[in-house]
Symmetry: C2
């Protein structure tokens, strides 16, 4: 089967005929080597403070000598704590979530947890299988980027009894816990800014994505309250690009928008990449940004400050979201009380040159 060298020959220490797992040295072997009972080794590893220093020393030596790595599958089964947290993202390619995933992975690693990563963005049937596979691992928590909309899945998650943190959104009815912010508020704040800057013919370029559409809605609603929009209609012109937003998508959407509404003077984009596309297309056509048209992005991606002109955008602290999500799960696992079910991390409008 395998053909690579293995640490040492199978020790026939114990049973009569048995199969054996990948690892060759077990807790028991360490116990024998150190001259203690297996439990003591377990304690030395998981709760060193409950073991006498001298014993600890002997156990540690035995571990170092053998290169023993505890089998966490067995540990998880016995303790009903897997020290595993599942994160479900629509797709790994979405750069907005990266900061969150990165912070989450780190915070979990520091606390001795591993992260199981799943992608949900492949239709209902696959999503069902994904959830099944995840629940089957009995993770100590599940972090969702974006709230879960499918009622079936929500029910399944609830029934599983596993702590769930939904993120990157705000909903009055979270499955369990939530760390996010209001997308509609963002749209509203951006519209305020455009209005305050004297813009009156607003438009939207957005990716076809639930949360992006929510921001667009907040923007459109606010604009409508101001009584502004295109020249005649009170409706805000919208161009929808396929998700995820790309530079090319931004260019094409802006071109399309311009063809239909040549007089627009501000565009709110659902991502910085789309915004950069709009700026690129504007420059290619000799339209001045921000003089003739203001452009606002979303995400404060690492290029936003260095484009020409520098992008005005909305920043969300993805790192904070990841860290808080980790904290919520760990607190639950530790049986802590009084964990806030909903946390709003807010956002900020970063004013640069493009608007």
């Amino acid at each position: 089967m395998r053909s690579r060298p293995v640490h040492s020959a199978q020790p026939e220490t114990k049973s009569h005929r048995r199969r054996r797992g990948t690892g060759d040295v077990r807790l028991n072997d360490i116990a024998k080597l150190a001259g203690v009972a297996p439990v003591t080794v377990s304690r030395a590893i998981n709760a060193p403070e409950t073991v006498a220093p001298a014993t600890l020393q002997r156990v540690r030596e035995a571990i170092d000598r053998t290169g023993y790595v505890p089998n966490l599958l067995a540990g998880g089964l016995a303790s009903a704590r897997s020290r595993l947290v599942a994160a479900i993202v629509p797709t790994i390619a979405a750069p907005v979530f990266q900061e969150t995933i990165e912070a989450l992975t780190n915070a979990l690693a520091v606390a001795g947890y591993q992260m199981l990563l799943g992608q949900s963005g492949y239709g209902e049937s696959r999503e069902d299988a994904l959830l099944e596979a995840i629940i089957g691992r009995r993770p100590d928590g599940i972090v969702l980027t974006g709230i879960m909309r499918s009622p079936r899945m929500r029910l399944r998650l609830l029934a599983s009894g596993i702590p769930v943190v939904e993120t990157w959104d705000l909903t009055p009815t979270p499955i369990d816990m939530l760390v996010g912010f209001s997308h509609e508020s963002i749209g509203s704040v951006v519209a305020d800014h455009a209005h305050a800057s004297g813009r009156r013919r607003l438009a939207i370029v957005t990716a076809a994505d639930d949360r992006a559409l929510l921001r667009a809605k907040g923007f459109a609603d606010a604009a409508t309250r101001f009584g502004i929009g295109t020249a005649l209609a009170s409706e805000i012109p919208v161009a929808i690009a396929s998700a995820p937003g790309t530079l090319g998508g931004g260019r094409r959407s802006f071109a399309e928008l311009l063809a239909r509404h040549p007089t627009i003077d501000a565009v709110f984009c659902s991502s910085d990449m789309l915004a950069l596309g709009v700026v690129t297309e504007a420059q290619a056509r000799g339209i001045k940004v921000p003089t003739q048209i203001a452009v606002v992005g979303y995400g404060d991606t690492n290029f936003a400050a260095d484009t020409v002109p520098a992008l005005t955008t909305v920043r969300v602290d993805g790192t904070a979201i990841g860290e808080l999500a980790a904290r919520r799960i760990i607190d639950r696992a530790d049986g802590r009380e009084g964990i806030p079910p909903v946390t709003d991390v807010g956002f900020s409008l970063i004013r640069r040159e493009s608007a």
Copy 2:
């Protein structure tokens, strides 16, 4: 401890005083409901073709009725196959690896495996802990993005006996299996292209990253073979930006390069984002691309085709890498023979407008 509703009350079916895991319904319960032995339920789930249709039917009904989800921790422990594959990336933020991770996750999910994600980019000590945690889960395979350089870690991986696939690089001495391509060849091919286009004063903007430096080396070596470089010296001017490469980093590096070597006529960048930065800085200074200076990127990121001018870049099929890596691991797990230890997926130079 937990305060959310749980599926049903704890069934006191079995033991005298016992603790219980998260899930409430077990294989045994299904067996009783369906009127069969536990093994039969196990078979119905893992090898349905070995069970009589009528029996299968009854078992499936029982599963549907209860919402039973098998405990994979227990299954993994008993079978010594965890159906878990670990992927280790330097950081999640590196966009080049996204395609690979995405393809890997999918290919694994389809085959019934889950992916454990770990970040190595946080220094030796953390890397050690990471590896320990991963090995402890007894994954059926480990995929490394980039080869592992630390000898300690290489040894540890080897000793674990777990199948390993190194990716995104080519080395004569892989730990186990490898799916990658030659970074030096890329540099060499780009230098050829620059030379063939009549460029004679070449320069490099690179992130401080092992593989990027390898491409830079290939580029510099080829240029030296042509006897070209700056006006006098045969050394190629290099500006090093901190990893990961950003648009701002590209702008600053290019400015620095220009200050030292005002006559350069071609720049090879270690990422498309850096290349976009170079183009941006050039435009801000009124330097024409490609007329006055040619710019080549790396990655063929989704914006490369749509910038002005469109970026000439190097494309690597990250999806193929991910899929092949998954295949290698699954083939190993299935005990297949004749798995190629090294696979070179190659790359291609995408000629667009910037060079």
